[in-house]
């Protein structure tokens, strides 16, 4: 029998230290146990078919959709990340297994490849925006927007949940290194 292990967090120690003297208007948390599946397909024609198969929930590039605890984040033309707090990777795909394989859509489980940080509070956006060369300001990076961008050579996927809450998907091996940059920025901000 496969063990069911509690998904571990990577930055909890750092976040605990930070939270003890967190500045006003900024709360940082690591999102635990999020299932992240990457779907891939090839060609524009498949995109439309997939959208139909997903009941119109395939977001356009740079956007996201959400439906009963499941989200879809699209940062590239022929890929989309399906995310869920409750479903396992297998369950998340199983729902659509038939239509996906009919369409030739493949999937890879990347749940363990990312560390997801949630930044909330009125300073959250400003901190992240000032670190990224990409414009993440409220007027231009609206709720629902998704961008994969590079912050001092760290690849991050940023998801705007609402005007004062953003999630950052960090590639796991870079997570602590990014945390150091974030801390530095917050301290001097």
């Amino acid at each position: 029998m496969a063990k069911t292990l509690p998904p571990r967090t990577l930055l909890q120690d750092e976040i605990d230290v930070f939270s003890r003297q967190a500045p006003e208007g900024l709360v940082i948390a690591e999102v635990r146990g999020r299932t992240i599946i990457k779907l891939d397909w090839q060609g524009q024609d498949k995109t439309e078919k997939l959208d139909k198969a997903m009941g119109g929930l395939l977001p356009t590039v740079g956007q996201s959709t959400a439906d009963s605890g499941k989200g879809a984040l699209r940062y590239a033309p022929f890929s989309v990340l399906l995310v869920s707090a409750e479903l396992t990777a297998r369950d998340l795909v199983a729902e659509r297994q038939k239509s996906l394989s009919d369409l030739g859509v493949t999937w890879v489980d990347l749940s363990h490849g990312y560390v997801v940080l949630r930044l909330s509070g009125e300073r959250a956006r400003e901190v992240l925006d000032s670190m990224a060369s990409t414009d993440l300001s409220a007027g231009r990076f609206n709720p629902g927007a998704v961008a994969r961008t590079s912050i001092r050579k760290h690849q991050v996927l940023v998801h705007s949940l609402n005007s004062s809450c953003l999630e950052v998907y960090l590639e796991r091996s870079y997570a602590l290194s990014f945390w150091h940059l974030l801390e530095h920025k917050i301290a001097l901000g």
Binding site: M1, A2, K3, L5, P7, R8, K38, D40, W41, Q42, F78, G104, T106, V108, D109, L110, S111, H112, G113, Y114, D129, S130, M131, A132, S133, D135, S137, G139, R140, R152, K153, H154, E171, R172, S173, Y174, A175, L176, S177, F178, H180, L181, H184, K185, A187, L188
Partner: protein, 943 residues
Amino acid sequence: MSASPQSHRLPSGGLIDRTQSLSFTFDGETYEGYEGDTLASALLANGVDLVGRSFKYHRPRGLLSAGSEEPNGLVRLGEGNRARPNLRATEIPLFDGLVARSQNAWPKLSFDLGALAGLAARYLKAGFYYKTFLWPAGAWPFYEKLIRRAAGLGQPPCGPDPAQHEHHHQTCELLVIGAGRAGLVAALEAAEQGRRLILCDERAELGGSLAWTRDPVDGLEPIAWWDQAVEKLEQNPKVTLLANTTAFSCQNLPLVLLEERRPGGNHRLWIVRADAVVLAGGAIERPLVFPGNDRPGIMLASAVRFYIRHYGVKPGQRAVIVTNNDSAYEALEDLKSADIQVAGLIDMRPAEAAPFRPDGVPVFANYEIAGTRGRKRLKGLTLRYGVDGSRVDLDCDLLLMSGGWTPNLQLYAQAGGRLMMEPQIGAHLPHDATTPLAVVGAAAGKGVSPTAAMPLAKGPMAFMDFQNDVTTDDLDLAMAEGYGDIEHLKRYTTTGMGTDQGKTSNINALSFVAARQGRSAEAVGHTTFRPPFTPVSLGAVAGPARGRDLAPTRRTPFHKANEKAGAVFVTAGDWLYPRHYPHNGEDMAAAIAREVRNTRRQVGVVDMSSLGKIDVQGPDAPTFLERVYCNNLANLAIGRVRYGLMLRADGILFDDGTVARLGETHFLLTTTTARAGEVWQHLERLHQCHWPDLDIRLTSVTDAWAALAIAGPRARDLLTALGPDFPVDKESFPMASVREGLLDGLPIRLYRVSFSGELGYEIHTPAGYAEDLWEAVDVAGAPLGLMPYGLEALDVMRLEKGHISVGTEIDGRTTPADLGLGKLVSRKKDFLGRSLFQRPYLQGKGRLQLVGLQPVDGQTVLPIGAMITAHTWQGTTQVSLGYLTASLYSPSLEHPIALALLKDGHDRLGDEVWAVSPLANQSVRAAVVSPHFFDPGGERLNG
């Protein structure tokens, strides 16, 4: 020189806060100033005339200006590692406890031995650096010492900068550079339209010349208008106001770089992307060029006005004004208000040009200055009448000069804007309407005084460029020596170089050159304007990228487990990788030897998570892989792994790794750690740019999986003890197998592969389970003698096996054939690199080929990096037959071994050669052997 406290402060007036007294030191003397002062104004208020020595001749120099154009007043601010050299005193806001020192003077400012250089002036003419290279022969080493000692301005601190610098990305709809009157107007207009904007100014206060001009704005006194304008902007949440912030680069619009100098010496680099940029940089007053125009007490007319009006400072007692335009006449009222006596106004133009006839001030029309006197402070002038050459002497301690105004267009020119010489003002204006950014106010020539073209003075020590000590004689000499082009003149004479980049000298120099060459200033052109506008601290450029945060650091999923196990880490690419795991008191060599022996005798575990891992799926995946690997993969069965070699299109070996077939159309590749990023890009490129018709999907899964390799004679015992849910005996799970399953309840992918040459397995598990896997392995391995081993031990074992590695043997020049892997290259299929791999040069004789080397004496480790020669090293030239790629003492074989690339090495097994290292002064006789030193038959591997 030291004066009574603030002896030169006016009893009232100025925008300083006289209730806030600040104490500071300059060259060890303590002074007082007020909140709102700059270091420059506070020094003047204390009667400090002398602020520096000139670069070449060490002449005494005082402040020329009140702004960023200052060529003379360069100081070292702060002490120890916080010290910053070459800061302009005119731009340093005064604070309590400020410590500053003058530069370029030894032993002290008032008595400087370097001033003797002034006596040697005739040897320091234009191009003196270059001439010392050439003549007299052999003298350069002597000059070099002198020049190196004298060269450069200021001294950088030696240790790490304790200040905290940062980068700040910002987008906006409008960026306004310069917060003088024109900049404020532009910002107010945009703010009213609701635009998101940034307004920056290099000075501590916004306002620019509003502080000292008298023309009313919108019916208000300039200062009253300024107050209400700034207030309006401050209250607008869409407006960011940045003082002490210099826009220094507009070269890559819409990207503009700003340096904000924050309290405590902390700098913030603003990386601004603006939809539109307005340049309101104002204009810079030009000095006049006449003999002895550099004595302390000779200042720009506008600077004197600035010091009086803005700072309530009285820069002298008895003044003379010299001008070639009307603007300097406005200084008369300011001088009067400061109770400064005016000994005369010299208007270099004919009498009728004067805008008005000032009361009680002798006017010398059509005069020029023939000379000045006073050693450390101006004492007087000699005038020469333009009509008959007759002379007049005037006593004064302050000279206000105005040679006209230069619109501040450096940033405009950086952005690619073309400049046009406007003879009316004797300076450049923006050329046409299609400009890269909008220019407003005095920078666009608005309100700039027309200037008479003047014959430029002759005579000794008529300085064109104060900071670089370039005189008119230097320019004449350079032109006589054939340097006629303005760009050549700049380099040869250094005019317009240095920290001020000729802000006060460029226009004068090119006007002078034009007059001498009998050409128009338009024809002479101008030198190229490049960033930065004013010098930027390296700290601001580096921002957070220093020390630990210099570059991204990647950590494997086992990082904490490795820490607990006592790993010493090493940086390998971006990765922080366990190098070795020393036991108590062990040095690195001992730890490595122990780790190797333990792995070869019992069992070891190594973190392999940094290997690149690429998931390949899709119906055309087999075709794709057949094309990108040079070895045959077509018959790779599901559940099997194969070693793979990838070539570049030019036939050179690119990377090696494994290809595992997980399903009919599902593969998992591993790459080397070093090339993981490049291989990923390479594959993506081939797919997207060249073979878009192949239906495949690539996903980098490096971060999603943790990988541990266990290796050694007891590896299978360990694996069995871990309780896999499938059989792992020799028959069921032979060499080069792969399968998915559970191990101690953890989902895994198990590979039977080995880099160490021992019976080995790689266990991959989702990264979040890494610590559980490590713990399980640790517990199960303890009774079997398991020890972790690091990168160094891994390298020793691969070398013992003669396995190739990226960076040493895969070096961007070798082919598989060179490395003894020619048999792997498929002769049946076509693949990327095949065609050019077959080039005669890569296939013929004379290639450097991989061999093993062993010292003939059986004990001397061959020097690392040694060249291979036919004879021992005797200090003479020898033909190189190749070189060593790796060399060490083998703990398993108990003698030294090395890998080398040797010319035609595959045919030379058994030969003896010399491994020579002139650097180590070592020559070792070595035998050429097979690179497979340890277990060449592979019995252990297949055990």
